[in-house]
């Protein structure tokens, strides 16, 4: 029960934080994809089952809340969680450099994936804006801080050591 509650609170809390971030920083050059970073954290710390699960749910809810294609970010975030999960035992998720570089590469992958998915499924091609290319960089810079916050969140719930 505790773990179910933990997952539900984290899922909705993360989603609301992203919505609030979008509300205040959306359209600016400094927007950060908090849920991509959180999905990477989930994959790196919990493996390739929890990673894609949270990625899929966050992606699906983000798609519904925003104006994008339903299923676009669900697919990409679950892929990010899956790949991060496979690197769980190869990468040290406590090192800021690892967090930043992995987040940068993953965010670029998400961006290219979004362009590719929209090319095939959307009605019109999305314009290439500077803010889109800056976002992976901000994600990478924000990753160490968000990893720290999420690690503290795990400790509050006392769930990390049990592998959930």
């Amino acid at each position: 029960m505790k773990y179910l509650l933990f997952y539900a609170v984290t899922l909705l809390g993360g989603l609301w934080l992203q919505v609030i971030q979008n509300h205040f920083l959306g359209g600016s050059l400094f927007s950060v994809q908090l849920l991509v970073i959180a999905t990477i954290y989930w994959g790196l710390t919990r493996g390739p089952i929890s990673g894609p699960l949270m990625g899929f749910l966050w992606g699906l809810l983000t798609d519904a809340a925003s104006l994008g294609l339903l299923g676009e970010r669900a697919l990409l975030y679950s892929a990010v969680g899956y790949i991060a999960g496979f690197f769980r035992r190869q990468l040290d998720d406590t090192k800021p450099w690892t967090q930043g570089v992995f987040t940068l590469i993953s965010s670029l992958g998400v961006l290219l994936g979004e362009l590719l998915v929209e090319h095939f499924f959307a009605n019109g091609q999305r314009p290439i804006l500077l803010s889109m290319w800056l976002q992976p960089l901000w994600n990478a810079l924000a990753a160490p801080l968000l990893f720290l916050v999420l690690r503290s969140w795990d400790m509050v719930w006392d769930v990390r050591e049990r592998g959930y």
Partner: protein
């Protein structure tokens, strides 16, 4: 990768299921069941969007609780107010004025228009689309025009492109995919097409090379077709140049409405307004 085989297989199967579901949603994204699913999922973020929208739109929440007074007579004069109270009062006045303008416009020109609140905006589509809190249940239909009143002026915002049960998606005129038949008022008095630039400005295309268009001329909707009413202001001419092929004149327009301040809009239902 030293994951054990069982975990690897489980993870692979799970990801394959997620990918399959995602592709189904993408392929059938126009189907009613996908639209309905989106409406259901939007319940998770709807309250947050509404709260943020209200928080910005309703400055009364910024008033300190101690300043609440039973009647107007108990209100202190403006000069005696604390800066935060003064700011809140100013915001309330501006909001009140905006609602009065909107209400007057609705009664005088668009009696069957539907007022809607902007509840969502995607950073990735900032100049392209917004989400409003009225949908199929409220009578909104695709291709409805969306306008707004700002500083006493009405202005074209965009048109509805996607309708869900309780929300709708609006394509802003700033989107490069947006194209509206427009009429140039003033001495030129001719028609053209207004297209978005994915930025604040708009482009009025296909003006005759001999056109006498001038900086400052007002551009309004032409009303061609059944969906967009005529005479809704779009913007004013800021700059004039030849188009890349040098066949026509084109004008860069300053939009009447700043889409960054959108809070409450009016949806004009085709055939009723």
């Amino acid at each position: 990768m030293d994951l054990d085989n069982q975990e690897r297989q489980q993870a692979g199967s799970l990801f394959a299921i997620f990918a399959f579901i995602s592709f189904l949603l993408l392929i059938f994204h126009k189907q009613a069941w996908v639209v309905d699913l989106r409406s259901v999922l939007q319940w998770t973020t709807g309250p947050t969007h509404r709260f943020l929208s209200d928080w910005r739109a309703d400055p009364s929440q910024a008033l300190p609780s101690g300043s609440a007074s039973p009647g107007l007579s108990a209100q202190p004069p403006l000069w005696a107010m604390a800066p935060e109270s003064l700011r809140a009062v100013q915001l309330l006045r501006a909001d009140n004025q905006r609602l009065r303008d909107m209400s007057a416009l609705k009664e005088s020109r668009w009696p069957s228009a539907i007022a809607a609140r902007v509840i969502g905006r995607d950073p990735q589509h900032w100049f392209q689309e917004i989400v409003i809190d009225k949908g199929r249940f409220h009578g909104v239909v695709p291709e409805s025009s969306v306008i707004v009143v700002d500083n006493g002026h009405e202005g074209m915002v965009g048109r509805v492109i996607d309708v869900m049960d309780t929300t709708s998606k609006v394509l802003l005129i700033q989107d490069s995919l947006s194209s509206i038949a427009a009429h140039l008022q003033g001495s030129a008095n001719e028609d053209g097409v207004v297209e978005g630039t994915n930025g604040h400005d708009l482009i009025l295309k296909y003006l005759d090379r001999s056109s006498v268009v001038r900086v400052g001329d007002i551009v309004v909707t032409a009303g061609l077709g059944n969906h967009i009413p005529a005479e809704i202001p779009i913007g004013w001419v800021e700059d004039i140049s030849l188009d890349p092929r040098q066949l026509f004149l084109q004008a860069r327009l300053h939009a009447i409405i700043s889409t960054n301040r959108l809070r409450i809009v009016l949806v004009l239902i085709p055939g009723t307004s």
